[in-house]
């Protein structure tokens, strides 16, 4: 409540504010203020699950005499972080015209290791070698962030054992499989003093004494003794801690997250524009079947108001024929398809 009257006035003038408190190659900590929790949460969700990266998706095993099963190794390989710089110029496998995979939608990595000495041999991510054409010279290279530059340990070989395999790394998002996650973790916190009572803290005798204060507790005014609960208060300051797994830099994760959210919105606006001109308005006239949308995919005999704008819609290109007057999106419809 203390910050509300003053800051909220500023809020209207300033709009959202971002303050960075720490930034390096592994993490970025920032505070987003004067934003709504709904937006902050969208940003968190999109950074967690919807930023495209690249990860090994297909493994062809030519030789595996190690103690680990092929699929076991394949799973480990999938989880190895690969550099995703420039992944936007890579196509999704499903969008590519090729049969299976090609250099436009994948990066090929090979791993060939044989233990020839008499000591056990360690095979690291470093031993994964990108081969063939690539979109750029870093995309798909394993991330080696440890001091020795070895990368994660994949497996160990006893003398005489050998693995030889070929991996296809593809573009994807973490919503499909966590191996495509760009972030190792995203910290998200607000209201460090729990003034809003969004948390119900468990305690033995005194919650305040038993729970350590958050690192952000000093940033916000602690509640006054005997302060009445403010029913109208809403969270206003959000503390993010975006930790990268090495495939994208932490600040790229944030900017990419916003970009993904924008692309999502742009796609919908686009579609609404298509629909707004000839579909959505027409729809209010006359009865519709409950399967309105699904019916449309049926048998191409009839034209649907939704269908391909500009194609063969009987509503024609005129946005002005709607009962609601000209929609701002009527005009452009012919060009999308």
């Amino acid at each position: 409540m203390d910050y509300d009257p003053m800051v909220m006035d500023d809020a209207e003038a300033l709009g959202p504010v971002v303050k960075i408190s720490q930034a390096d190659s592994v993490r970025v900590k920032y505070e987003l203020s004067n934003a709504d929790i709904a937006f902050a949460n969208s940003l968190r969700r999109v950074m967690l699950g919807e930023i495209p990266t690249i990860a090994i998706d297909l493994v062809e095993v030519e030789e595996n005499s190690s103690v680990l099963a092929d699929e076991f190794i394949a799973h480990r390989l999938g989880l190895i972080p690969l550099n995703a710089e420039g992944v936007e110029s890579l196509l999704y496998g499903r969008d590519c015209d090729c049969d299976g995979f090609c250099e436009h939608c994948s990066v090929k990595l090979t791993l060939h290791a044989k233990c020839t000495g008499d000591e056990n041999m360690h095979v690291f991510a470093r031993d994964l070698v990108p081969t063939g054409e690539r979109v750029n010279h870093v995309l798909g290279t394993p991330v080696l962030s440890d001091a020795e530059g070895l990368g994660p340990l994949i497996l160990k070989l006893r003398p005489g054992q050998e693995v030889k395999l070929e991996c296809i790394a593809r573009k994807g998002i973490a919503k499909e499989h966590a191996k495509w996650a760009p972030s190792a973790a995203i910290g998200f916190e607000y209201d460090p003093h729990n003034k809003l009572h969004h948390l119900d803290l468990w305690y033995e005798s005194d919650a305040k004494a038993e729970w350590p204060p958050s690192e952000y507790a000093a940033w916000e005014e602690p509640p006054q003794e005997g302060e009445p609960f403010d029913y109208d208060a809403v969270p206003n300051r959000f503390y993010f801690n975006v930790e990268s797994a090495g495939n994208l830099s932490p600040d790229t994760i944030v900017s990419e997250g916003i970009k993904v959210l924008q692309q999502k919105l742009a796609g919908l606006i686009h579609e609404l524009a298509d629909e707004g001109g000839d579909g959505a308005n027409g729809e209010f006239n006359g009865p519709r079947s409950p399967e309105y949308g699904t019916g449309a995919d049926g048998f191409g005999g009839y034209t649907t108001p939704f269908g391909n704008a500009g194609n063969q819609s009987s509503w024609g290109g005129a946005g002005g024929t709607t009962p609601y007057g000209t929609t701002p999106y009527g005009a452009g419809q012919g060009s999308w398809s």
Partner: protein, 159 residues
């Protein structure tokens, strides 16, 4: 390998017959092909339209639910969830022309998200939805700029 080759050399009708017989054991793409061929026989070029529209249908991510009126409409979004829903709900509610806005995910195992918008006279629910999307985009722009600005000034102050 040679066997497969000899199959290809057979006349076209024969190939489709063979494929149909093998359908239960063959893998996915071939299976689909058989279905297509089947429909081809009934409805020549209509089939093309169908596959076209199926693709279009996949791209169709918003639809208006039945029972909607100009100022009170429910929209169904495919493949969207709380990420978009909550932020859109918030930003749409901020629009002074909007009387009511809410979102729901009716069932967690269906990738669908419903948004209900009711507006006051003078605007339509569709316009309010579009405005919501644009406002959210604007908000994204601002936050993106602010973040890049903050990052650059942070980098400048502590390299």
């Amino acid at each position: 390998m040679p066997r497969a080759k000899s199959k290809k050399e057979e006349p076209v009708e024969a190939e489709s017959d063979v494929a149909m017989e093998e359908a239960p054991t063959s893998h996915q793409p071939e299976d689909e092909m058989v279905v297509d061929q089947d429909e081809d026989e009934d409805a020549g070029d209509v089939e093309d339209d169908k596959s076209d529209e199926e693709e279009e249908e996949e791209a169709q991510r918003v639809r208006l639910l039945p029972g909607s009126t100009p100022t009170a409409a429910s929209f169904e979004f495919l493949n969207e969830g709380h990420t978009l829903g909550n932020a859109l709900r918030y930003i749409t509610m901020r629009n002074p022309d909007v009387e009511f806005c809410a979102y729901a995910i009716p069932h967690p195992s269906e990738a669908k998200m419903n948004v209900r918008i009711q507006t006051f006279e003078g605007t339509t629910a569709i316009q309010a939805l579009e405005k919501g999307l644009r406002d959210l985009q604007e908000l994204c722009n601002v936050v993106s700029e602010k973040f890049i600005g903050a990052r650059d000034s942070f980098g400048a102050s502590s390299p």
